[in-house]
């Protein structure tokens, strides 16, 4: 079993790296701190993989897939959160790694095996299986430096497959060898799966992932975007890729719209052309709104799905949409609604909050609604709001509520927010 709890991983990107003592000493004397910026490769990942699952990890380059695998096998340690792994792990992260060029294939099998925690006896039992699987024949008694790169990869793969781990981690290395060898690898992985072993694969080969995995995790900029059926994850991934290749004038691509409604009285401001504020209710918006949200706020919304998107449609350039904010509304009992509003930075302080609130008021006509207001402390005075335990989070009551119910609602509100 693999369990990740609120795991974050930070890398330090040094701007002027002082690798020697002189510079370090000088910098220290001058009171200058080492300048670096933090890159969060993974942000708040929660993931439980049970025994017997085959999970594919997909995402663009730099989305944190490999970092995730390296955290699981213990090469990296998390900066926040906990990683718990039960069972023997074999990782195929980079092929041929740990091989010493001057040692023979045979010697390297024992060396590599012992790095994976298998003793000589255990490796001896598997030796012939490994040699047979790798199809190296007598080459196994020659130094690795005389091997072709394909042979090195075959040997690496054979070792990882034959040591019989409980959890197998594979990072983008399935494209080894010729077709026949690949087929053999997959057959082997299939047997693995049938034996109830856990397999975690990172790959860009979506076809393979779809065919082979029963669960797919999509990572985007270090955050877990979707986690579920392979088809869902892959579809979402396609959308991300598609979106990236669209020109700026076509951006953003809009999700399926349930109904689009004009809410705006036109606001004429210096900074903006005349245009309309619109709000739309979106279906099954999981991945898409997450993506939009990410582009606006730089992080994914903890609360999903968001079911309304407010945007600005300029009359001059009708294709140019700018996201104003997001609304999440959730039914509360039979008659109530709770939710939250997130406003993009460019649009803060323009009184749009009031407009969005009014919109929700309209949707929730006969419902008692309570609203969480996030992001922006300047809520219009007349709305009336109360503080919550969260900083920058205020609650706004759309209807009068008796004090007893208020407590219940507050509790619920606190469990939803903040964004």
């Amino acid at each position: 079993m693999v369990k990740l709890q609120n795991v974050s991983k930070r890398f330090r990107i040094y701007e002027d790296r002082s690798r020697d003592l002189k510079e370090t000493a000088i910098n220290w004397l001058r009171g200058k701190k080492r300048s670096f910026r933090d890159l969060w490769a993974l942000k708040n990942i929660n993931l439980i993989v049970n025994q017997g699952e085959t999970v594919g990890f997909i995402g663009e380059n730099g989305s944190g897939k490999s970092t995730l695998l390296k955290l699981i096998c213990g090469i990296y340690s998390p900066d926040e959160g906990r990683v718990k792994v039960e069972g023997k792990v074999s990782a195929l992260l980079e092929l041929g790694v740990g091989f010493h060029p001057d040692l023979t294939g045979e010697e390297n099998i024992y060396l590599n095996g012992s790095m994976l925690g298998f003793n000589r006896k255990a490796m001896r039992e598997r030796f012939y299986e490994i040699v047979e699987f790798s199809e190296l024949g007598d080459f196994i008694y020659s130094p690795i430096r005389t091997y072709s790169s394909g042979m090195v990869m075959r040997l690496g793969f054979s070792i990882a497959m034959c040591v019989d781990p409980d959890i197998l981690l594979i990072d983008e290395v399935l494209a080894v060898g010729d077709e026949a060898f690949q087929k053999k690898c997959f057959q082997r992985l299939g047997e693995f799966k049938a034996k109830g072993k856990t397999i975690l694969i990172v790959s860009h080969a979506l076809e393979l992932i779809e065919r082979f995995c029963n669960r797919v995790v999509l990572l985007h900029h270090g955050e877990l975007l979707t986690d579920g059926q392979p088809s869902e994850g892959i579809e979402a991934y396609h959308k991300i890729i598609q979106n990236r290749f669209l020109g700026p004038e076509e951006k953003p691509l809009l999700p399926e719209v349930k109904n689009e409604e004009e809410i705006g009285e036109k606001i004429e401001e210096e900074n903006f052309d005349s245009g309309n504020f619109k709000i739309m209710e979106v279906y099954d918006s999981d991945y898409f709104v997450s993506q939009l949200f990410f582009e606006t706020f730089g992080h994914t919304p903890p609360k999903q799905p968001l079911n309304y998107v407010a945007f600005w449609k300029s009359s001059k350039e009708p294709n140019q949409l700018e996201i104003i904010g997001f609304i999440h509304v959730e039914p509360y009992g039979e008659v109530g609604l709770v939710g939250g509003i997130c406003i993009g930075k460019n649009w803060q302080g323009k009184g749009l909050e009031k407009m969005l609130l009014r919109y929700v008021e309209k949707v929730s006509e006969d419902k008692k609604a309570l609203f969480l207001y996030t992001d922006h402390p300047k809520l219009p005075e007349e709305c009336g709001y109360e503080k919550t335990p969260y900083p920058y989070l205020w609650v706004h009551w759309l209807k009068k509520i008796d004090p007893e119910e208020k407590n219940d609602l507050m509790e619920l509100a606190n469990s939803i927010g903040p964004f």
């Binding site: 330090r12 690798r19 090469i75 790694v97 040692l103 925690g117 003793n119 000589r120």
Partner: protein, 255 residues
């Protein structure tokens, strides 16, 4: 520590074997070099100190040998293990295993080379008329403590080397100074009285005193010296792990 590394004994064994097999690969005399090299050094120092400078030491070759070999075990371990972490990025980034195994296995490999030199230490001692006495039974314990002392410093230095690559050049100079400030090529009684306490703070002086006492006099140093030996060993291990734990977490990403 040993219990912690115990499940990885095969890895340690393999790494030591790898170091051994690759160290003398493609050289004609192979392992014989770990015998010839110290022998030649002993001859050179004997020529310089005994014949030319006429230092007044009884049986200079054996006197020097008993100091130089433990010293060379120490200095070569430190120098070769220095880059054991910083240049194993390809391993550290791809496989998980306790990282201290890397310097540890280098120290072990040097230990084996050191033990091999006993193949000529004992014959030479006997040629000069120094025959083994019962105190020799304590030699393994001295070697063990000496090895732990070396391991601690190696761990510390290889940890530092990950962040400061010029440690190597500083260490070069320090080791030369340390060699001459340790009574290896000259006896303790040549040291002026007022500097003697400084020599006693030098752990390598103590180590070499132990080796000479056992191999040449066939006796053991008093309990006070054993206490000091234990303290030096403990401090070295503590320092080693202190530095190691500081860098351990970020090791994979710094390489």
């Amino acid at each position: 520590m040993n219990k912690f590394l115990f499940p990885y004994r095969d890895l340690i064994q393999n790494l030591v074997a790898r170091d051994f097999k690759t160290r003398y690969k493609r050289s004609y005399l192979g392992i014989l070099w770990s015998l010839f090299n110290p022998l030649l050094t002993i001859i050179v120092y004997t020529l310089a100190f005994d014949y030319i400078m006429k230092i007044r030491v009884k049986d200079f070759p054996v006197f020097f040998m008993c100091g130089y070999l433990p010293w060379s075990y120490f200095s070569s371990s430190i120098m070769t293990s220095l880059s054991s972490l910083s240049e194993s990025g390809y391993l550290i980034k791809a496989v998980y295993f306790p990282r201290e195994i890397l310097p540890f296995s280098i120290v072990l490999s040097s230990l084996i080379h050191f033990l091999i030199t006993f193949l000529f230490i004992f014959p030479i001692l006997m040629i000069y008329g120094y025959f083994p006495k019962p105190a020799l039974l304590m030699l393994p314990l001295i070697i063990l403590l000496h090895t732990l002392f070396i391991y601690g410093l190696s761990l510390m230095m290889s940890s530092l080397h990950v962040f400061f690559r010029d440690i190597r050049y500083i260490l070069d100079v320090i080791l030369i100074a340390w060699f001459w400030l340790t009574p290896i090529a000259y006896p303790m009684n040549l040291i002026p009285e007022r500097f003697l306490f400084l020599y006693k703070l030098n752990p390598m002086t103590l180590m070499i005193m132990f080796y000479r006492e056992v191999l040449l006099n066939g006796s053991l140093l008093g309990i006070k010296y054993w206490g000091a030996l234990l303290v030096f060993t403990f401090v070295s291990i503590a320092l080693g792990y202190l530095f190691f734990f500081m860098i351990k977490k970020r090791l994979a990403e710094e390489l």
